[in-house]
Amino acid sequence: MKDRAMNGAAWRILPFPSASSSASRRAQRKDLLSALRVSESPVIVDFSECRSLTFEDIDLLLECLGQAAGRDTQVVFVAGSNANRLLLEVTRISSLAPVFISVEEVLAHPQVAARCDAADRACEDRACEDRANDHQGASQSQTLWSA
């Protein structure tokens, strides 16, 4: 698990299970899903180490999307190859989350950057609003308290 910063936003890069033994894969799968469950940053699920995707891998990608959708976390996939990317198109996963060939491509992609900036701005706006509300609330309460 790595964190990469871009335009002030931290991306969490989560590796996709690629171990040869099924026990290790199960452990990696568990780690991936728990990381998705708690991550507060946008997430890159990187399966570029997988030479070809199996039906279990596709199920897991769908599960990742489900986790992210439940928490409103931005998820992008790094396919590593056009073959993997093609499978994501065929399964329609690419219509649910952006798919890139490499992590560098994700970070360089203006739309993702824009989304990220927009997310940052939205966060900042929310924070400002919260501060303003807090301030207003405090004033009101102060007023109320004064009254």
Binding site: R51, T54, A83, R85, L87, V90, T91
Partner: protein, 338 residues
């Protein structure tokens, strides 16, 4: 002057089991070799048959067929033709569909007194050439299909009619589109049920499935509930398109199963193998559980039967030039009555 015709089916084909040994797991390769055969039907049509019809129009009664013929096999074949006294040979490598008037090619060849005439269009060679005996002998000594004799390059037959390379997935799909829209002479093999929609015999389409023209669905194919076929799709014979799957601007070759809920767009699917026409990328659908080859008893996957019939004979007795016994090629050669 005695004219012979020789058709070579390129690649690892044979007439008895097309691509049965094709390995899976091609996903690792971004540009694998063409995963399908030039004998695979296009809108239900066999391109070999179209060439045979053109040869028949020259007044010829038979031709020779060889399969899996590499440069070595072709060399020995041409050498044998030269030895047997053929004075002029029409050689067709089955790598393109071209609406070519072979009589015009022959006329051009005779008028120019070329020892070799290679047909080409703006995209290059079409795999059709005429060789006179001296050239046949010389070419047989050093035959390279990708490097024709210099005489043919100097005096090529420029073909300006309709032609597509059928070994290229993209051009093949273009041919499908042109056949469906009437932009070429090839017509889908089936019944036209409405404008630009053809279906073969025994097709089953669920009532909730959508068929959007221009589209072709080959014989005995099953299209299940909620699936969408088209536009510009060709699902060849004996395929199954499962529930909710969309096949758009794509071809599914015979005996292909496509799992439920897929989106096949700008692709060519052959069993468990998918090639994207735009990216050139290939993916293994089978290991992902998304598609596979349907194995059927007595499959009609072989579009051309090798069994000796009235039309087609094999073996020494049927070979006027004794090619089979003298040839070192692994595949048998066939003489086909036209």
């Amino acid at each position: 002057m005695e004219l012979g015709a020789f058709v070579m089916v390129p690649g690892g084909d044979d007439f008895t089991g097309i691509r049965e040994a094709q390995p899976h797991g091609l996903a690792a390769f971004e540009n694998p070799r063409a995963p399908y055969s030039s004998r695979m039907p296009i809108l239900g049509n066999d391109v070999l048959r179209s060439w045979m019809d053109r040869v028949r129009k020259l007044g010829m009664q038979s031709l020779w067929l060889a399969s899996g013929a590499g440069a070595g096999a072709a060399t020995s074949a041409l050498a044998e033709f030269a030895r047997q006294g053929i004075e002029r040979l029409l050689v067709i490598e089955l790598k393109s569909y071209a609406e070519m008037d072979l009589a015009d090619l022959l006329r051009f060849h005779c008028e120019r007194r070329n020892p070799v005439t290679e047909a080409q269009d703006a995209g290059g060679q079409l795999g059709v050439r005429l060789l006179d005996r001296p050239a046949l002998r010389a070419t047989a000594e050093k035959y390279e299909s990708c490097c024709p004799p210099t005489e043919s390059v100097r005096n090529p037959y420029q073909f300006s009619g309709y032609a597509k390379r059928i070994l290229s997935a993209r051009e093949r799909q273009e041919l499908v589109g042109d056949g469906l829209t009437g932009a070429c002479a090839m017509r889908p093999l089936g019944t036209q049920i409405r404008e630009q929609v053809w279906i073969g015999e025994g097709v089953k389409v669920a009532t909730s499935a959508r068929v959007i023209g221009p589209t072709y669905i080959g014989a005995d194919t099953i299209v299940r509930a909620g699936a969408t076929i088209g536009p510009f799709a060709s699902v060849e014979r004996d395929c199954v398109v499962d529930c909710g799957t969309t096949v758009e601007r794509s071809t599914a070759l015979p005996d292909t199963y496509l799992a439920a809920g897929l989106l096949i767009r700008n692709g060519l699917v052959d069993g468990g193998h998918l090639e994207h026409l735009g990216w050139g990328a290939a993916a293994d659908l089978e290991s992902a559980g998304l598609g596979s080859r349907i194995s059927r008893r007595g499959s009609r996957r072989q579009p051309f039967s090798p069994a000796p019939t009235d039309d087609c004979s094999r073996g020494e007795n049927a070979l006027p030039w004794n090619l089979a016994s003298s040839s070192a090629v692994a595949q048998p050669w066939l003489q086909v009555q036209l």
